[in-house]
Amino acid sequence: MTDALAGAALMRVARRESAMLRLAKAMAIAFGCLGVLLMYGPVAWLALMSVSERPLTGKPGPFTLAWYEKLFADPRWLDPLLTSLGIATIVSILCMITATAVGRTLPHIGRTGAWLLLVFLVVLFVPGVMLGVDFIMFYRLFLGVRTGLWSLIFAHFVWAFPFALLGVLVVAGRFDTRLLESAMDLGAGRWRRFRDIEMPLLFPGILSAGFFGFLLSLNELPRSIYLRGGTTTLPLFQWAEASSHTTMVPLIYGLSTLITIASLGLTIIALRQLFKGGAA
């Protein structure tokens, strides 16, 4: 008799548990949707507004490409865009070279390597504003070096390097150094070993380092504010325009939408490279 009671009680507990589980799952999905909405809602709305007639009202109006026409008619954004692209390319190349040079060796130095990694990642713990201020005070005031293009490149590089390094480390950590022994045994010298064995196998990591460098530099803002030295990058341009209260603000919508789409595209390509190199 008591067995039946115990059995029924167990059933009730089990059913309550599974009900709670389903509730929790629903909540998680709800939060997830909220999250995605928060992340992409604005961007999607931005794209919507860029093709609406009266975007400043915030309502999607009749659809028109007029803003894009105006955008291409007023080329004030062209210079900053080209500047940003140029800087991003340089930063990307710098990141690829340094991240590879450091990343191929770091997994093999044991504890020193772990500490060095921390040293490189420390800058991620500091707000960009702080870094910008720190650098300008140190270099401009203390050392008396004038800011300019180089300081911008430097700031972007410091920001992007940790990410680029992590990109290479993901692949380098899996690299089998015994392959280098085999190559040496077969007669390959140092350079050959790097060229024939290491580089091809590290390539996905190197490529993603390049992409990270490029995209992070392209969209960098807080550090650029302080270290611009007279140069204007695209994010700086957008920021200045957005904070102003002119009616030309909608042009920014179109510009931002275009940049966003391009960034998304490049991100997908970068991720697919990483996945090809062996996904997590």
Binding site: E17, A24, G32, L38, G41, L46, T98, P127, V133, W239
Partner: protein, 300 residues
């Protein structure tokens, strides 16, 4: 005839790599870490446009508290902490579902992309759109009025603290979700199965197995959200306007006014607060998670 040969032992790791790493590390320490440390020094001297006046002084710090700057700092910390807490509450269930709930690989790739892409999008773009949307004539206000729920447009939708909180959620959500997601994905499914097998309820499994093991990720998520948020000025400017002053804006004002000593002092103060907070969080969370090393968490 003894010939003792003792040339450098062949390493099983890439040679030349060593000196490259060490050279770069030294350059990094000198070029990046040194300025950060140097700033702390600057806060104790008087810095002006002409140069340094190397007398030890606490003037800069005094100024922070005398002028309204401490309030700004405190406000920024408060808002950032609140938003971080909200983000944590939203992100953990979400990340959990993503890591353990989704099975299909296509979905996983989609989610990965969705989570990563925002890192590469421009801050300004995401934030600037809120102005018209939350504005007095914006769709939210008009919609509510049309539905008859309110008579006059809500003024606090924009240029207010609640608005700033709301605006900070979107841009920093990926920073919080990403590390938590990563650390959850690394939890072996076998462990969860074993827990179930022993008889633990889902809640117990969560508390005793999943939570401790994901602690490094949670820690990283908190730091990656809170810290950059402190430095944010895009949201503050665009959505907060003049009503809500935050750190980023204050810093810019200082630098533009060439008030370097105070800027250095604020910088040093913030660095100290961040370091202290990180220590607190690590200690507090260590009790829940079995002393997970931050470096290990980052390596993953």
């Amino acid at each position: 005839m003894s010939g003792i040969t003792n040339w450098r032992s062949l390493l099983r790791r890439p040679p030349t790599g060593d000196w490259a790493v060490f050279t770069f590390s030294i350059v990094w320490c000198l070029g990046v870490l040194l300025p950060m440390a140097g700033v702390v020094l600057f806060s104790f001297v008087r810095v002006s446009a002409e140069g340094l006046d190397l007398n030890f002084t606490l003037n800069a710090y005094r100024e922070i508290f005398l002028t309204g700057r401490w309030e700004v700092t405190a406000r920024t910390i408060r808002i950032a902490a609140t938003v971080t807490a909200i983000l944590l509450l939203i992100s953990f269930p979400f990340a959990l579902w993503l890591a353990k709930g989704l099975r299909s690989t296509t979905w996983k790739i989609v989610i990965w992309t969705l989570l990563t892409a925002p890192f590469f999008l421009s801050d300004t773009a995401r934030v600037v759109i809120w102005r018209p949307v939350l504005g007095l004539m914006g769709p939210i206000n008009s919609g509510l009025m049309e539905l008859g729920l309110i008579e006059r447009p809500l003024t606090w939708l924009l240029f207010s603290e609640p608005a700033v909180h709301f605006g900070l959620l979107g841009p920093f959500l990926p920073n919080m979700v990403w590390p938590i997601f990563l650390s959850l994905i690394l939890i072996d499914d076998d462990l969860i199965e074993a827990s179930k097998d022993i008889g633990a309820s889902p809640w117990q499994t969560l508390r005793h197995v999943i939570l401790p093991l994901s602690m490094p990720g949670i820690l990283a998520g908190i730091i990656f959200s809170f810290v950059p948020m402190l430095g944010d000025d895009v949201v503050a400017k665009v959505i907060g306007g003049q009503q809500v002053l935050m750190l980023g804006g204050a810093m810019l004002d200082l630098i533009t006014a060439l008030n370097y000593s105070v800027a250095a002092a604020m910088s040093a103060l913030i660095l100290a607060i961040i370091a202290a907070l990180q220590l607190l969080i690590v200690l507090a969370l260590r009790r829940i998670g079995k002393g997970a090393s931050l470096v290990e968490g980052l390596r993953k």
